[in-house]
């Protein structure tokens, strides 16, 4: 999928920085980014969260949310059977209503990719065509604490097993110490390791783990760094650190992507992940994307929710809209 959109590693940095992709050039560029108005950002995010969504829009929003979900299971206790049931849920989210759309992707650990691919069978493919793709977390997820060789092997392994998308974590320790060149090189190397046998690249989502970056300025710098290094998506969090995705952080990343689009015409994806559990929250994100980047961003190759329990809540709301009565947890799967 998405071969034509994936860029070669570091190509963007070469274009922007004019050939000199040294650590100091990178540092100069990132430090030159304007600071973030934290109060304004949080106020704007809070304002976008207060929209009242009426019934017909809500029905549209719920279906669109499902189409944008990366249905995730990232537990130490995952088994092939758990992954198969996750895939079954991805393909038929609500057995009581077959008009329910499929989710965009399933997101699993690298060793579970073969099981996910096998379980998907013919339904494995581009979510833009109604199929379900396989995303794998790699690079010593969630901490990212491993040598580069291990991270790259982890990535290649998942890609070789058939993963269409790689969710990598950045080295937060290096980023916070100011070793941005190292973080940049690592993203470039992982992007390189995403090369598939057919010459294309697996879609690379770069997890910034914003809960560990401390400031909004850092989030903006890390976002731009990830984009420069060739990330196709920037993703808020692993879901293993609190706070995970928050609306202000996601808004900031969306604004960074919007600015990037204005400068270069290129469209980067955003994936908030972790802590989005209710339809109400998910709709706030939908509104924020539509208001910041426009509705054309609400497609699977430009926006995703990383979530596991969100899907069930969306299905309950969807059942309420179709049947006119409130549903309950007995009417969706136990994950």
């Amino acid at each position: 999928m998405t071969l034509e959109r994936a860029v070669a590693p570091a190509q963007r940095a070469v274009d922007i920085l004019g050939g000199d992709v040294s650590e100091s050039a990178l540092k100069g560029y990132l430090e030159g980014l304007p600071g973030v108005d934290a109060v304004g950002l949080e106020q704007r995010a809070a304002g976008l969260g207060t929209r009242s969504i009426k019934t017909s829009s809500k029905a549209w929003a719920l279906d669109r949310i499902i189409e944008l979900i990366d249905l995730t299971t990232l537990e130490g206790a995952d088994t092939p059977g758990k992954v198969r049931s996750l895939v079954a849920k991805a393909l038929v989210p609500d057995a009581s209503d077959l008009t329910t759309p499929r989710v965009a992707a399933v997101c699993v650990y690298g060793d579970m990719v073969p099981h996910a691919v096998e379980a998907l069978g013919a339904a494995h493919g581009d979510p833009d065509q109604g199929l379900v793709s396989v995303a794998a977390v790699a690079t010593a997820f969630p901490s990212g604490r491993a040598s580069r060789a291990v991270k790259l092997a982890d990535t290649r392994d998942a890609v070789a097993a058939g993963a269409d998308e790689i969710d990598m974590v950045i080295d937060r320790g290096a980023f916070l110490s100011g070793r941005w060149g190292q973080v940049f090189d690592e993203i470039v190397a992982v992007k390189d390791a995403c090369r598939k046998a057919d010459g294309g690249y697996a879609h690379l989502k770069v997890i910034l783990e914003t809960g560990e970056l401390n400031t909004y300025d850092n989030v903006r710098r890390a976002s731009v760094l990830a984009i420069l290094a060739g990330g196709d998506f920037i993703k808020t969090s692993t879901g293993k650190v609190s706070p995970a995705a928050t609306l202000p952080v996601t808004l900031l990343m969306l604004e960074t992507v919007r600015d990037w689009h204005r400068w270069t015409g290129e469209k980067i994806g955003v994936k908030p992940a972790g802590g989005i559990r209710t339809s109400k929250d998910a709709i706030k994100y939908l509104v924020t994307v539509a208001e910041t980047l426009g509705e054309e961003w609400l497609v699977p190759h430009l926006f995703r929710y990383g979530a596991s329990s969100l899907l069930n809540d969306v299905l309950l709301q969807r059942q309420k809209l179709t049947t006119g009565r409130y549903s309950g947890p007995s009417y969706v799967t136990i994950d």
């Binding site: 006119g324 009565r325 409130y326 549903s327 309950g328 947890p329 007995s330 009417y331």
Partner: protein
């Protein structure tokens, strides 16, 4: 010296908290003579939805507590009610326009019923359960289990006694309750919520909605996550329609009762919201 009056805001009791209705609506509660008494929250269907979510969340802890512990907690409610005796008498006099003697009798009876039901907590299973004789080396035991979330339309012609009589029996075996209080006399229901909130009853075990039963009841009846529906105070509503809606998700229904004897204490009221679980267990052959 004259003081400014400090009128009380009567809000809902949901999940152990006292929120206003999400709709922001209120309605005026008047004395029988038509004088303004207080503003009460006019709960919406979304408040009912939130109440069911809170009640569902509380089922595990409440049903999982030991019967002895539940009995202690419910007895504690009676103790705290006793301490607020005068407040409830005043509220009943103001709302219903009855004499102090009648109001006192009502509060006394309500407290006595709490105590009576509290006592049943660790005794009910002995009475309703059974060791069944079977032809084999097994124990075969039937025991009553709580149904889950019980939605109650409280008796409409009583401010405290009807409410207590409908809520307490459902709590005995470990159910959690969403109760729609009397529309005309809602104030005692919220004061009872304050008693519950300060007497070791976990948040969400009892949720009190005030407002129009005609508006809220259909949503509770059709709610797929409500396990039982007590229509004791729904005699004025189109209750067969409510029963029909409840049947869609196999919700247990208990019928309206009218008159001064409505919801008199009985072991039947406890039984109405239980399910019998029967288990087999091998006997030791030694």
């Amino acid at each position: 010296m004259t003081r400014l009056t400090v009128p009380k805001t009567y809000k809902l009791y949901l999940g152990g908290k006292f929120p206003r209705s999400e709709s922001g609506r209120t309605y005026e509660v008047a004395t029988p003579a038509g004088e303004f008494l207080a503003n009460a929250s006019l709960a919406s269907r979304k408040d009912a939805r939130d109440a069911v979510v809170a009640a569902r969340g509380a089922t595990g802890g409440w049903a999982g507590a030991t019967a002895y512990n539940r009995g202690q907690v419910l007895y504690r409610v009676a103790e705290v009610l006793e301490g607020r005796h005068a407040q409830f008498v005043d509220e009943i006099v103001a709302q219903e326009g009855v004499s102090r003697a009648a109001a006192t009798a009502q509060v006394d009876e309500a407290i006595d019923r709490w105590v009576w039901y509290a006592g049943w907590c660790d005794k009910y299973a002995q009475v309703a359960g059974n060791a069944n004789p079977v032809a084999g080396p097994y124990f075969n035991i039937s025991a009553p289990e709580p149904t889950g979330v019980v939605a109650v339309i409280a008796p409409q012609d009583s401010s405290l006694l009807g409410l207590v009589s409908a809520v307490a029996p459902a709590l005995v075996t470990g159910n959690t309750v969403v109760v729609v209080a009397s529309e005309r006399f809602p104030l005692s229901a919220i004061s009872l919520g304050e008693v519950l909130a300060t007497s070791d009853v976990p948040g969400g075990v009892v949720n009190v909605l005030t407002g129009s039963p005609a508006e809220i009841a259909p949503w509770l009846a059709s709610h797929q996550d409500v396990d039982a529906l007590d229509l004791v105070g729904a005699g004025e509503l189109d209750w067969p329609a409510l029963e029909q809606a409840a049947a869609e998700s196999v919700t247990r229904v208990s019928w309206p009762e009218q008159g001064p004897d409505a919801a008199t204490p009985s072991i039947e009221r406890i039984r109405a919201f239980t399910e019998t679980k029967t288990v087999w267990h091998t006997k030791s052959l030694l």
